[in-house]
């Protein structure tokens, strides 16, 4: 299905919000793709990092907010360090998660973690996952 773009859609307030939370300008991106080639988990994503930025440029925010990508991102910062335009893509990912977490639930529900696992897991894993993935 074609993506219908309009002036209003491109100037979407959510894009502004994402830019505000992340402090990044998504229009800096010229789609070189190095964020995606360096990302350790691109293979598991439904949209690669460069596509995420591209969809934001097109104003197609909902599509990304519902994506798997933003939850699979492990905040390794590889994309941010390598982007030739200095876009901290990881911060954009964080902003997208944040928008979700502030409105709805995250992907991690504490009750889903098996109690046996819970015993083995180090605090560092639990705390970081809760901080990134729960609202």
């Amino acid at each position: 299905m074609s993506l219908k773009i309009t002036r209003e859609k491109i100037k979407n307030f959510l894009v502004d919000k994402i830019e505000e939370i992340s402090g990044q300008n998504v229009f800096d991106c010229y789609q070189c793709g190095i964020c995606s080639s360096g990302c350790p988990v691109t293979d598991y994503m439904d949209y690669s990092p460069n596509q995420v930025i591209r969809l934001l440029q097109l104003g197609s925010v909902d599509e990304i907010l519902n994506s798997k990508t933003i939850w699979i991102c492990s905040t390794c910062l590889q994309c941010s360090t390598r982007c030739p335009k200095g876009i901290e893509v990881a911060k954009v990912m964080e902003a997208l998660r944040t928008i979700n977490l502030r409105q709805r639930e995250g992907t991690l529900k504490p009750e889903d973690i098996k109690s046996k696992e819970l015993k083995d897991l180090p605090p560092i894993a639990l705390v970081s996952a809760f901080r990134k993935l729960t609202g």
Binding site: E20, I21, S22, G23, P40, V41, Y44, W71, I72, S74, T75, C76, L77, Q78, S80, T81, E88, A90, K91, E94, A95, T98, T107, L108, I113, D120, L121, P122, P123, I124, A125, L126, V127, S128, A129, R131, K132, L133
Partner: protein
């Protein structure tokens, strides 16, 4: 210069051997670690949102307490603590308005946060303060013939502004291994993320990462890995269980905290309790090399 030591939660539990070995090593090197009082969990991960200061509070509260306890610097062993504390500090100090708000939140503390305490990783102390030369002089049991891959992961080298070494081509840990008489082996995946907290909801991803990272190390000739992050250690060591189940040809590899190997090289006794905290038993390798 008064240095404090910030342990963080995991060093008191699953990574007790990291703390123990570091404490002993620093004692031998004449720079004993002094634990700061009243610390709380740093939050483990730095929040990258510009508009939610609450998420920075845990880190800042620790730094404020360290300030009040008169520490000029706070040494961390855990890469994540280092990263989170340091970034939170830079983020808050960079903006007067943020600084003011954070101080408002923490009105119950004894004083206002000024940001005078530096955050340093133990590796930097070893290299810049104590120097590898000095360490080399104290090595009594060199790690001869031991080929070690240094796994940096993400947080020692990213973001690049606070990388403890060149963010694309660090050498500090390999140099340390060489200092200890072993052979530091550069392997391709040493800066690649292990999957971090995905270990909880996307276990498969971390298992696959572990598989790739350990294989990359093995192909480069490593016999063991060292790390400085308990989350990396968990993924790379404990997850070898699932990795072995999923990939039948996979062969395991011991994963150490770098301070464990330092302890051995400096002639300290290998502590049996440490073994229990390893999933892949490192003892056979250490025995084979005549190190214990």
């Amino acid at each position: 210069m008064k240095s404090g030591y910030f342990p963080g939660c995991t060093l008191k539990t699953n990574a007790k051997h990291f703390e123990d070995s570091a404490m002993q090593v620093m004692e031998v090197l004449g720079h004993p670690l002094e634990e700061m009082e009243n610390w709380i969990c740093c939050g483990t991960v730095f929040s990258m949102t510009t508009d939610d200061l609450m998420l920075q509070l845990a880190s800042i509260r620790n730094l404020l307490r360290a300030e009040n306890q008169g520490y000029d610097e706070l040494i961390t062993l855990c890469s994540m603590c280092y990263n989170t504390l340091k970034r939170a500090k830079e983020f808050i100090l960079n903006d007067e308005e943020n600084l003011r708000k954070v101080n408002d939140f923490m009105y119950k503390e004894d004083s206002k946060f000024k940001g005078t305490t530096d955050v340093v990783h133990l590796l930097s102390i070893l290299k810049d303060r104590i120097t590898f030369e000095e360490i080399k002089n104290k090595v009594t049991k060199p790690l001869t013939d031991l080929k070690i891959g240094a796994y940096y992961g993400c947080l020692l080298v990213r973001p690049k502004e606070l990388a403890i070494d060149d963010f694309e081509d660090p050498t500090i840990m390999e140099e340390l291994v060489d200092t200890l008489g072993g052979e530091g082996v550069v392997f391709p995946y040493r800066l690649e993320c292990c999957g971090a907290y995905q270990t909880i909801i996307e276990k498969d991803v971390t298992v696959k990462r572990t598989y790739e990272i350990i294989n990359s190390a093995r192909n480069a000739g490593c016999e063991a890995l060292i790390t400085s992050c308990p989350l990396c250690a968990f993924n790379l060591d404990q997850r070898q269980k699932e990795t072995s189940e999923e990939f039948l040809e996979f062969s395991t590899m011991p994963v150490f905290y770098f301070t464990e190997l330092m302890a051995i090289a400096l002639g300290l006794k290998w502590n049996k309790d440490w073994k229990k905290l390893h999933y892949i038993d490192p003892v056979p390798l250490l025995k084979e090399k005549g190190l214990i």
